[in-house]
Symmetry: C2
Subunit: 453 residues, 2 copies
């Protein structure tokens, strides 16, 4: 299997580090006293510079969440896009409505029906990737200090948004079946007893990023019931839902209680992220606020992006394409799991049944953030676990992604990683720590910029 | 001159009203108690419903800011886009960097050189339209209650963003030569004496929206010097700068003091808004914060949009296209001014030397917001002046745009408007007021949603 020519074999890392962005605050800033309070919470990660290095072709990056696009029918997409521009260019290149095109929202309903969601197109808002939906939902609900309960670990890009709006994130534990109902209930009861205002429960029920686990069918109505009982709105983030390897999609949380769930979807993983198109499906009154917030943020989503995807959905076999993506990712998941068993038997990992990631726990004594510079020196990259917690947890974990490199590269990457880990373990055995050798130190880091997932 | 088929003759109005968005708060909202404080300031305009009506083909809309796209070489754009997708599709459809593509930022520098701006591509951030740049700048600088000084009147979309971040907007007066330096100085001195924190001076120096005036060459360094003296960062919003009818562009404010100005540019008026691509040029340290905020908001701007515009710039005669746009808009400006002189001699208006708008003062006693329902009944639409003030001023003004309708339609629209105005004046003469006849009442309205400009 070949990867078509790209700027580099793994631009995910480039994307993750904002390409050429040096650390913020390294130069004199005459406007330093002018920033808003929220801005002081926005920090470039200490590991950004490392990801810039990890962008080199010789590095196997198991860090990014870039989908494998070489499998797309680019010639066909080229043809239908040309037709769209030639025949409807003056519409495609014009402003549109803030909510997104009606006909396109109808098509989005059809995509969601694969997960048993029944909804009305009037309750859908098209956004600039589902990242923008995360931003807008947080914007309309969160005052500084409000609590968002989120899985431990959670998607780094969501944590970044929550921090930008000065939310207080409280983590709720997961196991192999996803969020644990009893633990969630306990956590919400504790928060209620403390008089804290919990505005949102943020969850990725399917093929969790970074956890690689899926919320079981049995737990779904339980989670919804608990959230409803405590008056907490559920933010169901589901970019990977159609990318399951083994079975049909489980019902979305939205199906159990449409009035208590904001559901986020995306075309970034099932088609292509370069258009930046995602959506939110929300209770009607919430949707109205979301549209106002979206108009304030960007006026309207790109008509060209919307009509391009709309054309793809109506003229190409998008279901067949997703099926083909699933085969690619399943093969890579197998390569990843096989390589972990072969090269890192002392670690443990989740066994994803879909999506892009596995979550790996290192042997005791290792600090994945500490180890990252040495891994990059050995030409392999990953995202340290601390990126996925709001509170500095996670140093014994790492997220490994198998979505972009070929199976051969995945195996080679894990082999290199095992070399680093074994050297690290030698140091731990001899010195009781590995931290003193060329590492950045054990301080908690911020998220490594958006990791594009 | 013909307008190519569109969904309707003036989708600007549809866009302006969010198409099918009913008024917010009209249904029971179980999450009403959950919204953030900032959300209570987001209101759908009372005149949205009217704009939905104004979207009908029989209505001449002088309300929207939609560019005239039928003049674009759509066949050529179709061809080069097809080539881009066929040859570089896996890059164009992938994630990119949060700051935007380096090569594209270099091209943006070339566009800005037409306004004498010298800068480095590292200080440019590509955004989802310049509306997003407005949002991100406001996000990183404004705490609730901070002051933004803005021209009176100001772009409705900027006022919406400022309100969303709970800024306190203080208006500074303009005359036919733009912002008045003495008045600005006085206003800043007053605010300083009151101990208020003024974070930004928001200005549209060229072909002002909605004012239709241009800041004179002589005043430019004066405005910059005053802002610098008071420690206020200038937010220079310049979507129309290259669309002057008579002379070469004046130097941007940025050219006088790059460290004191954030300059915003856009491809929406000089090429096409459907890609949603604008940019910010900012002092380096500010640019770093903007990229972090942008990544949090959307991860990265659309690669497909960036590469599409990049391809257009490198393969098409974009300068010639802008020249052709200028001819089109000049002819329409002439039609507008001629029709105003012919049909509304008792009103007064600004004489734009570029851009899309003229700002019209009605004869005494008229309330343009009050009058709008009757204008729509007479099949003509405009934006009432109150939309462009943060403080309820402006009821005697309206913004008329000449960018989208043909000269014939513009003349017909102004003729219809004169009928409404004359009827209105009759009522004023007889009853002393016109407000009792089917009007929504004189209450201040919010901005009519984004008016796409």
């Amino acid at each position: 299997m070949n990867i078509s020519p790209q700027r580099s074999p793994d631009p995910a890392a480039a994307a993750a580090d904002g390409a050429t962005t040096p650390g913020v605050g390294t130069r004199l800033d005459p406007w330093l006293g002018h920033y808003a309070n929220r801005t002081h919470g926005m920090k470039a990660s200490e590991i950004r510079a490392l990801f810039a290095v990890a962008n080199r072709p010789e590095v196997v990056s198991l860090a990014g969440g870039m989908p494998f696009l070489a499998g797309l029918p680019l010639e066909t997409i080229s043809e239908v896009t040309a037709k769209l521009l030639a025949e409807r260019g003056a519409v495609a290149l014009q402003y549109g409505s803030g909510q997104g095109e009606e006909a396109f929202r109808e098509q989005i309903l059809e995509v969601m029906r694969a997960e048993h969601i029944r909804a009305h197109s009037d309750d859908v808002v098209v956004t600039t990737g589902s990242q923008q939906a995360l931003d807008l939902v947080t914007r309309i609900f969160i005052d500084p200090g409000d609590v968002i309960v989120a899985e431990a670990p959670s998607y780094v890009g969501a944590l970044g948004v929550f921090r930008a709006y000065q939310a207080d994130v409280v983590h709720a534990p997961m196991d192999a079946d996803g969020l644990i109902p009893e633990a969630l209930e306990e956590s919400l009861a504790d928060l209620a007893a403390q008089g804290r205002t919990v505005k949102l429960l943020y969850t990725v029920p399917n093929f969790h990023n970074p956890g690689g686990v899926t919320l079981s069918r049995e737990r779904r109505p339980q989670i919804v019931e608990i959230a409803q009982r405590f008056g907490v709105l559920i933010l169901e983030d589901n970019p990977y839902g159609l990318l399951g390897f083994d079975e049909d999609p489980l019902p979305a949380l939205h199906t159990y209680a449409p009035e208590s769930v904001i559901y986020l979807g995306s075309f970034s993983k099932t088609f292509a992220p370069g258009y930046r198109v995602g959506w939110a499906l929300a209770p009607h009154a919430v949707r109205e606020r979301l549209v106002l917030a979206a108009e304030s943020a960007i006026l309207c989503p790109s008509m060209m992006s919307q009509l391009s995807i709309s054309t793809y959905l109506s003229t190409c076999d998008w279901r067949g394409q997703i099926k083909s993506f699933r085969e690619v990712y399943r093969e890579r998941r197998d390569a990843m799991i096989g390589a972990l068993a072969e090269f890192l038997p002392t670690a443990s990992w989740t066994h994803p049944r879909g999506g892009f990631y596995t979550w790996v726990q290192m042997p005791e004594g290792l600090d994945t953030q500490d180890m990252l510079p040495r891994a990059v020196t050995e030409l392999v990259a990953y995202v340290p676990g601390t990126a996925f917690y709001a509170d500095g947890q996670g140093k014994e974990f790492m997220r490994l992604s198998y979505c972009y490199p070929t199976p051969e590269r995945i195996r080679e990457g894990v082999r290199r990683l095992s070399t680093v880990v074994n050297n690290e373990l030698d140091l731990v055995r001899i010195f009781g720590t590995s931290g003193g050798v060329g590492a950045a130190g054990g301080a908690g880091v911020d998220a490594p910029g958006p990791d594009q997932t």
